[in-house]
Point group: C2
Chain length 281, copies 2
């Protein structure tokens, strides 16, 4: 017999996006069995496929530029923002993996090396797809990401690198926080994934619940408020304690539009780390 061809790092990143969305039940998120009328499973499939050239680029291109490319490819489907946050997790992880340093310290080297032009490219990505985002803090209007490419002069004037931009939001955005600590939570969750057995869609679901049970989801905080985010975390913990049925919770959260998207983004990062470390599909 001839041995199969192993996947490249970029292929593992794309597969992580697909395995994340296929994981079920993931209370409040699109999964194999649940979707919203205007945000369907098929949009995530197209988003992952479209993102691949950007994920390839992340191996050799500076992170902000690779991210912008990945988002441009992801956006060629009618669901809108499917994986903006997940790509913002994956791009530095792919880059660290390509440098042979897929550890939190390796990721921190990647984020520390970002430039002002990475920040400008990151802002340009907001011109490609609508991203749910809150008002900027007082005094930060010139750096409102919703300005997109128009914020370029301000970024250059202030000399803000992409890492510096992320630091500004690290306390209110779980993905930005990852940029400041080398995505520790993804590495932790990759270990959890390795400890589980059985079908990957169930293992991904379990890891998602552990991530959500451990930290408030900042996307839920932004879109549904802190009380909803606290409820989501408490009920994910109840699922883990087998005090709550995850399928019923998933249906309820989809109905109430409580959508722990940041936790899904970090789950994609965890799956990628696990795949790179030998997780078999």
């Amino acid at each position: 017999m001839t041995a199969p061809q192993e996947r490249t790092t970029a292929a593992n990143a794309e597969l992580a996006l697909l395995l994340e969305v296929a994981g079920s039940p993931k209370p409040g998120n699109v999964d194999r069995h649940r979707e919203y009328d205007d945000l369907r499973f098929e949009h995530f499939l197209a988003g992952a496929v479209g993102a691949r050239p950007g994920l390839e680029a992340a191996r050799t291109t500076t992170p902000g530029v690779a991210f912008e490319q990945a988002v441009r490819g992801m956006a060629h489907q009618r669901g809108g923002n499917t994986q903006f946050g997940a790509l913002l997790v994956l791009i530095p992880l792919v880059r660290a993996a390509s440098r042979g340093e897929l550890t939190p310290a390796g990721v921190q080297q990647v984020t520390a090396a970002t430039t002002v032009e990475d920040a400008v490219a990151f802002y340009r990505a907001f011109d490609i797809v609508d991203v749910a985002i809150g008002e900027p803090p007082p005094g930060m209007a010139p750096l409102d990401v919703r300005r997109g490419a128009e914020a370029a002069d301000e970024l250059r004037e202030q000399g803000l690198t992409l890492e510096a931009v992320m630091e500004l939001s690290a306390d209110v955005d779980g993905v930005a926080e990852g940029w400041t600590n080398g995505f520790e939570r993804c590495f932790q969750a990759a270990e959890w994934l390795g400890e589980t057995e059985g079908a990957l869609s169930e293992r991904v679901s379990r890891v998602f619940c552990r991530l959500l049970g451990a930290n408030l989801d900042t996307f839920v905080q932004k879109t549904a408020g802190t009380a909803a985010a606290k409820e989501a975390t408490a009920r994910a913990s109840a699922v883990l304690a087998e005090e709550e049925d995850p399928e019923a919770l998933a249906d309820e959260f989809v109905d109430r539009e409580i959508n722990p998207g940041t936790t899904a983004d970090l789950t994609a990062g965890a799956v990628f780390v696990a795949l790179e470390r030998g997780l078999e599909v």
Copy 2:
């Protein structure tokens, strides 16, 4: 706003694999909601991602060699043969699309141009993954595909191109038949897909049932017998006539392991043609 980046031809082929498997219900096949213990949805996701470099290669490389590469990438998952047949459909379609001739006549130009070395590469692909295949006809043992690379001398001696190899099985294998008529049925089914509306997973399901209702599935014939193949076609027709519930039929066929895999392969081809012709996701 900045426009999204359109997908390449190879990306559309990968997406066709994903949309095919996500289509539900597809009686007897793995879909979003149904899987076998040893052949799961996640194996198809990994198979599609892994096949992409081979699908890219099909744009510039001769079909047999590109097919072998695609199968090598597809096989890096534990489900075994996920998309061998679908790739055998897609490779000539991708090549025809890359030449700007995505029509049955354009595909026939591609298949007519195959060489003996394409046939040798095709046989090598059987060394990568176990493919369910029947006994060869009397006198054909030297060309049994299960010989894999060992059949190379025989192929070269007889001067058989890949097209000629396919012609030998065209009356017992629906994919091989497509190689002889430019995959007419995929083009027909792509039109059916264009006539439907709504979520793509349901549209794919409907097109699958139309294909199955119109022709016996040769994979079912091989693995479960002609009576089962006739039953599958009759009951798919009953689904189309709204005389049978497709979800119940899907459950029943999965239980009975009646798996219309050739129809699924042709469905993937139809989705690819539709995507190339502008089907929006």
